[in-house]
Amino acid sequence: MSSIPGELLIDQGPPRPRGDWTLEHHAALRRRIGETRGAAVGTPESLAEIAALDTAGAALLAELTGAERLAGIDDWAPQLPAERRALLRAVGEALLRCEPPAAQRSHPLRGPLADIGRRMEDIGHQQKQLLGFIGRVLATLATSAWRPRRWRLTSVVAQIHQTGLDALPIVALLTFLVGAVVAFLGATVLRDFGATLYTVHLVAYAFLREFGVILAAILLAGRTASAFTAQLGAMKANEELDALRTLGLDPVALLVLPRVVALTISLPILTFVGMLSGILGGAMVCLVALDISAAQFLAILERDIAIQHFLVGMGKAPLFAFVVAVIGCLEGFKVSGSAQSVGEHTTSSVVQSIFMVILLDALTALFCMEMGW
């Protein structure tokens, strides 16, 4: 089987195809066909000089003969080999079946405007869905709370392990570093007032009230909400959720509840560790840069920082955990089939949960300020 580049002779008379009409020579043949300006191939003899032919070449031939004539090849070129006729006929028939794609033309402004509208609608729809899902989770929680036999302890403990214990090192390291940074900032600003001692207060207030919980929650949103979405999304794509339903099992009770419960236990623990480790980072900077000894640091903490700050911080943890877990699971349920969709919803779950955590934090800060807590 030697290779002869496919060509189209158009010098004299009707165009005559020759050589290999295969995918390899597609580009060159396509150019030649463009040059024929619609001169048609019609005689059986003109097809006899083709050496090798594949479906790509047959599709090109169809542009010379027309798909209908190709489909009816048996009538006008019976002397061609049967295999070749079968191929040409199959390609011709297939071409008759496939219609050209519908051309889409619209006003240039319409696309972007429609996009904005769709997005706004999506946002509204999303919030409604989230509220509905929260209601469903709470209702399921309420019904199974009375039945200890329905508590899925193993599942909850496994989730606490994954979302809490495994996240401890990274939370501790991150808050330690941020604690050190806050202490540095405090030391720099407060030095001008000769009030460097108040760095201790700054670090303690910041971590007990805000940073401990919010850093832990954001880490959890990035680490765990995305994991929930991917897990449930893969199950959804594989019809596993449907299988659960047909077995008479409720995916919310079986998959969502253990995750939500586990997270509402993990995040307070992570928050506590984050507070300690952030204050430790601050204490280290105080010791090294400001000559405040550890004993002095602790004495100030004990004397000046009321327990309520700790309680405000810890109180937010379960709320944030619930929101992060619910958003992660809901986005997982929204996944539809494709790999693209898993990616989109994982992104969306992280963005949404971080956004909600910060929004809720701002609202509680305002609330606490008004209440004088």
Binding site: M1, E24, D54, T55, E83, A86, A90, C98, S338, Q340
Partner: protein, 265 residues
């Protein structure tokens, strides 16, 4: 087509010798020999779990065998450089058991992808050719713009066949192509396979449980059992082999029905 190894036309296209595949202590293949001749449709049958798909994956190079030698177009895939391997792999078309379409692309884009990447066609032309291949595989025109998630199992199979045919390969590997198709679709598939084989001188490695396909389309049948190819040859001689599993397979109620159907057709 430029291929230097084609000259020795007597050698089989694919030659598997002493193949061994094991996963941990689980031995799937041992001393397995198999040939695929040029231009033939080879049906590979075997019980569930007998390693048919593993054999396919070994031949196309997705799985490195534990031992043994696999020659494709006279070359050992494992010994080739990455670029030479890619050139050989372009001459394969593979239809996976579950389609393995790219879920984030439409069907036309799925088929057009190799045409754009390997054959270097411009996008519009690649998609026009892709629509032709989809129609060849028996899909309606409007399916071209749909995503795999929107399709039924049978349509996914057809689309996967269209993608396997995208580069007009020389060897087609099909893993249970007619499973999940309705009988009319399956019969059309068999006819399509034979048309393509005749027209493009394809060689086909066909894993199937479909006895009708075996009787109508296959030139030779290889039976995979006891970790090797127990017997390979024309259907009649294989069916006549005196072995319990083969006997049950070809002379069970379904086997007899398919044989009768083939005889009367």
């Amino acid at each position: 087509m430029v291929n230097e190894q084609v000259d020795d036309g007597f050698r089989p296209l694919i030659r598997v010798r002493d193949l061994e595949n094991r996963f941990g202590s689980h031995v799937v293949h041992q001393e397995l020999d198999l040939d695929l001749e040029r231009g033939e449709i080879l049906g590979v049958v075997g019980g569930s779990g007998s390693g048919k798909s593993v054999l396919l994956r070994s031949i196309v190079g997705l799985l490195r065998p534990s031992a043994g030698r696999i020659e494709v177009f006279g070359e050992d895939l494992q010994q080739l450089s990455a670029s030479a391997r890619s050139r050989v792999e372009r001459r394969f078309g593979v239809l996976f058991q579950r389609g393995a379409l790219f879920t984030s692309l439409t069907l036309a884009e799925n088929v057009a992808l190799p045409l754009i990447e390997h054959a270097g066609l411009p996008r519009s032309e690649a998609e026009a050719l892709a629509r032709l291949k989809l129609a060849l595989a028996g899909l309606p025109g409007k399916a071209a713009t749909q995503y795999p998630a929107e399709l039924s199992g049978g349509m996914i199979k057809r689309a996967a066949l269209a993608r396997a045919l995208a580069l007009d390969p020389e060897v087609l590997f099909l893993d249970e192509p007619t499973a999940g198709l309705d009988p009319i679709g399956a019969a059309a598939f068999d006819r399509l396979l034979m048309t393509l084989r005749d027209a493009l001188s394809l060689s086909v490695f066909l894993i199937t449980h479909d006895l009708d396909t075996l009787y109508t389309a296959c030139d030779r049948v290889a039976v995979l059992a006891q970790r090797r190819v127990l017997v390979a040859g024309p259907l009649e001689s294989v069916a006549a082999t005196d072995e319990a599993w083969i006997h049950d397979y070809f002379h069970g109620p379904r086997g007899r029905a398919a044989e009768n159907a083939a005889r009367t057709a």
